[in-house]
Amino acid sequence: MDWVPAISRWIHLLAGVMWIGLLYYFNFVNVAAAKAAAADGTAAGISKHVMPRALLYFRWAAVVTWLAGASLLGRHFFDAFFFLNKGYYAIGIGAWLGTIMLFNVWVLIWPNQKKILGIVQATDDEKNKARRVGFIASRTNTMLSLPMLYFMAAGAHSALFFG
């Protein structure tokens, strides 16, 4: 047994389930729940107790997923990211999509969520802008998760997907 790729693959899957699971929770459950909670005056429970914890696991799971994926690619990292080898085309697309999604988490979603949740100071105008940017970035990641997971699956089963 080759321990490094085996453990990397396991960690990649575990962290990836947490990352994308929380992404789907935000998009499929929380957006509608927060709207309903705001309407009946109970949104504070979500923004104070749920979102900070969910975002903590979400953003760090994204980092662990990417690092475990990079470790799994190992010496083929550049083959995948720069499409140097046909055998790594599919996983290369998946890797780029995952990298764009990681960027969205740390550069667009988390900084804007900090404003929305009051972790950093922001005016009402800044909060409204942060809500829109954070929402679109989160929806973009949900959209990109479809091809990303398709190419993650295809990376290990190229003949099945492209044969």
Binding site: K86, T140, M143, L144, A154, G163
Partner: protein, 32 residues
């Protein structure tokens, strides 16, 4: 025009379209 990402169905359909486009690009370059 409404942003498709404002709705969940718009998001999912956009993701499926991107998947289809990328699938065909990769298949083309793999010579499949």
């Amino acid at each position: 025009m409404k942003n498709p990402l404002d709705s969940l169905w718009g998001t999912i359909i956009s993701g499926l379209i991107i998947t289809l486009i990328l699938h065909n690009i990769v298949r083309f370059y793999l010579g499949g």
